[in-house]
């Protein structure tokens, strides 16, 4: 779309949001390190919703945001389509500064480029499912039969066919959430902002919709910011996960990085319960072959089971059963390393002896 290839689809640059009349003063004080959040709340009567959020989301990426209730997730996501003005910092959509857009440009980008699902659904009670779903098309002045056709497809995609003419208060919470999803995808936007879109669904439908959503987003190359409370959901669908605490993005990384290498206690607690078997790769737990040979002497690797660097622990366990040998990790023809039984067990435990993983926060 004219933007240079390197430019991410969404970029937040030092975004701050302070609620309250003395917001500017509060930001200055926080930046200067004079006051902490509690002091700001008590002395200046301001609430820090988001503090210094910097991240970018590439084309086709699913970027998950996790954090406890009140950590500022919904506040942050609302900045992306400028439902909230940042107190400080800037947001860029495909290289264009959202804060600098005119009202008309903003409306256009909201109607055509960005679809949004709300935490509280926010369906229009006086419109039936079809008219709710087609709302973004209606405000753009698209003809009625075209609208109906698009709405029908979107309703079909969330498996609500036949409910077109019902009103939101005639649907269950989960069905309403699916209407919200259909409304977001109806205008075929390239960016999706999803605030806990699946939270009211039962596990079965949720799993199914996650699958549908991942297919859809991969197929159509949608760029998504996805808020969730559910770590397994984040790990399943997220390309990268950001953990948020009190308005601060404390860690951003791939699911594997977050799980195997949490930056602090908070993140560690967050990811504590998760199984590493499907997440950690051979590359993470292997030793270099030389190091193995130094301790164990030169051995013949011909009978060893072979794995690829991106194979998960689960696969390694299966390979390891029924043989006494370590596993050889090969990247094509090149030997990348060795996974010993000890290393495998440590990996399952979640301890990591291969040195600090590289982590990027950009």
């Amino acid at each position: 779309m004219g933007a240079p290839a390197a430019e991410p689809v969404i970029r937040c640059d030092g975004v701050w949001k302070v609620f309250g009349s003395k917001a500017k003063e509060a930001i200055r004080a926080v930046k200067a390190g004079e006051l902490n959040k509690a002091q700001i709340r008590d002395k200046l009567d301001c609430v820090v919703g988001v503090s210094d959020a910097t991240f970018s989301v590439g084309r086709g990426e699913i970027f998950c945001i996790m954090g406890l209730s009140g950590s500022g997730k919904s506040t942050l996501i609302r900045h992306i389509n400028r439902l909230i003005e940042p107190t400080d910092g800037a947001i860029y959509i495909e290289g264009r500064n959202v804060s600098a857009m005119s009202a008309k440009e903003l409306r256009q980008i909201r109607a055509e480029t960005i679809g949004m699902v709300f935490q509280n659904m926010a369906l229009m009670p006086h419109r039936n499912v079809r008219d709710n779903v087609a709302f973004a098309l209606e405000v753009r002045g698209i003809a009625e039969d075209k609208r109906r056709q698009v709405a029908r497809q979107a309703i079909e995609a969330v498996e609500l066919t036949g409910w077109d003419l019902k009103y939101p208060d005639e649907l269950s919470g989960g069905m309403q959430q699916r209407v919200g999803l259909a409304r977001a995808i109806a205008a075929n936007p390239s960016i999706l902002l999803m605030d806990e879109p699946f939270s009211a669904l039962d596990p079965l439908i949720r799993h199914q919709l996650q699958g549908t959503f991942m297919e859809l987003s991969a197929e159509l190359h949608k760029t998504t910011v996805f808020i969730t409370h559910d770590l397994s959901e984040a790990i399943r669908i997220g390309d990268r996960i950001a953990i948020m605490k009190d308005g601060v993005l404390v860690q951003i990384g791939t699911p594997e990085e977050i799980v195997t290498n949490p930056v602090d206690e908070y993140v560690a607690q967050f990811v504590g319960g998760i199984s590493k078997l499907d997440l950690v790769t051979a590359a993470k737990v292997m030793l270099p072959l030389e190091q193995y040979r130094q301790t164990n002497g030169s051995t013949d690797t011909a009978n060893w089971p072979v794995a690829r660097p991106d194979d998960k622990l689960n696969t390694l366990v299966n390979l390891s059963i029924g043989t006494a040998h370590p596993i050889l990790v090969r990247d094509g023809d090149v030997v990348a390393g060795v996974v010993t039984k000890d290393a495998l067990l440590r990996g399952i435990q979640g301890r990591d002896h291969s040195g600090p993983a590289k982590r990027e926060i950009n």
Binding site: L123, V139, D169
Partner: protein, 313 residues
């Protein structure tokens, strides 16, 4: 007893005369002086009232009755329609002139309500949007609702003269407040997250107004309209003091002659009109869920006719 000229600290109110009443009497002169300026408005409004009244009176009573019953059926369903038919028949039989008097009153009330909607709806919407405007408007609405009509009767007559136009204006002053208040309330109580969703999908402020806020505020606005209609009807006797004809005038004349029978006829007529208008507007207000989410053209007499055509087609 203190001398009249001495100032008493304990009763300053009696010793000081700011002559507010005398100054305010200037309003009368101002009204007389501005008569010319208001003429075009007066002529226009008079034309509107007269054409409504003429149309109502020219329609044969039974046809008119049928029309009102059909409207009631469409707006509020079959039961209300039957109820309206019965009460209107009773109205007609109250006295030989009752029907034509009622039509004159209905025309005045209609004109007043139309004017009230034209003024009240935009003001109410604006008040719902702006806290400051609401704060300014509120004491004004309080005044309009509580000040005795006799206070502004004289200035209005001085400005416009006696007759229907003054009657309608006086009625609007008295009946306008609830429409503005409830319109504002309706706009204010629209769920803000729905408005936010509309914004997020690219709706412009006017689209938000007409596609989200007004539809969601409609039940509250209709409640205000209903109140305005009821208050308009309660003004017809006072309006008849400035020579507005109709049922109110019957009551006023009966009072002058201590004719209890005539007063009852006029009074009952007003009550029946009130009941009919109340039921119809409340029917409009009924939630769509109660009517099975159908569009208005799918039910009532219109639905019936549409269905007939559908079958033949």
């Amino acid at each position: 007893m203190a001398d009249e000229k001495t100032f008493s600290w304990l009763n300053p109110f009696e010793s000081v005369d700011l002559k507010i009443a005398d100054h305010s009497d200037g309003i009368k002169q101002w009204a007389i002086d501005n008569r010319e300026a208001i003429q075009p408005f007066k002529i226009f409004l008079d034309g509107v009232i007269q054409s409504i009244e003429r149309a109502f009176l020219a329609t044969p009573p039974l046809v008119m009755l049928a029309i009102i019953v059909l409207i009631a059926w469409q707006a509020a369903g079959r039961r209300t329609a039957i109820y309206v038919a019965v009460t209107l028949t009773v109205l007609g039989f109250l006295s030989p002139e009752a029907w034509s008097l009622a039509m004159t009153t209905l025309a005045i009330v209609m004109a007043a309500v139309i004017l009230a909607v034209i003024i009240g709806l935009p003001l109410g919407i604006f008040a719902g949007k702006s806290d400051r405007f609401e704060a300014v408007l509120r004491p004004l609405l309080d005044t309009m609702q509580t000040i005795p009509a006799f206070v502004y009767l004289v200035p209005v007559v001085m400005l416009i003269g006696i007759g229907n136009v003054s009657g309608v204006l006086v009625t609007v002053i008295f009946a306008l407040a609830p429409l503005i208040r409830l319109t504002s309330l309706g706009i204010r109580t629209v769920n803000p997250s729905v408005v936010e969703a509309a914004r997020a999908f690219g709706a412009s402020p006017s689209q938000i107004m007409f596609k989200v806020e007004l539809p969601m505020a409609t039940p509250t606005i209709f409640a205000g309209l209903n109140q305005t209609i009821m208050l308009s009807l309660s003004m017809v006797v006072i309006a008849s003091m400035i020579s507005v004809r109709g049922l109110g005038n019957e009551v006023l004349r009966a009072m002058g002659r201590l004719d209890a029978g005539k007063a009852i006829v006029g009074g009952l007529g007003i009550v029946i009109l009130a009941i009919v208008l109340d039921r119809i507007t409340q029917g409009l207000n009924q939630s769509r869920r109660e009517r099975g989410h159908r569009h208005w053209w799918q039910s009532g007499p219109v639905g019936l006719i549409a269905n007939l055509f559908h079958k033949h087609a």
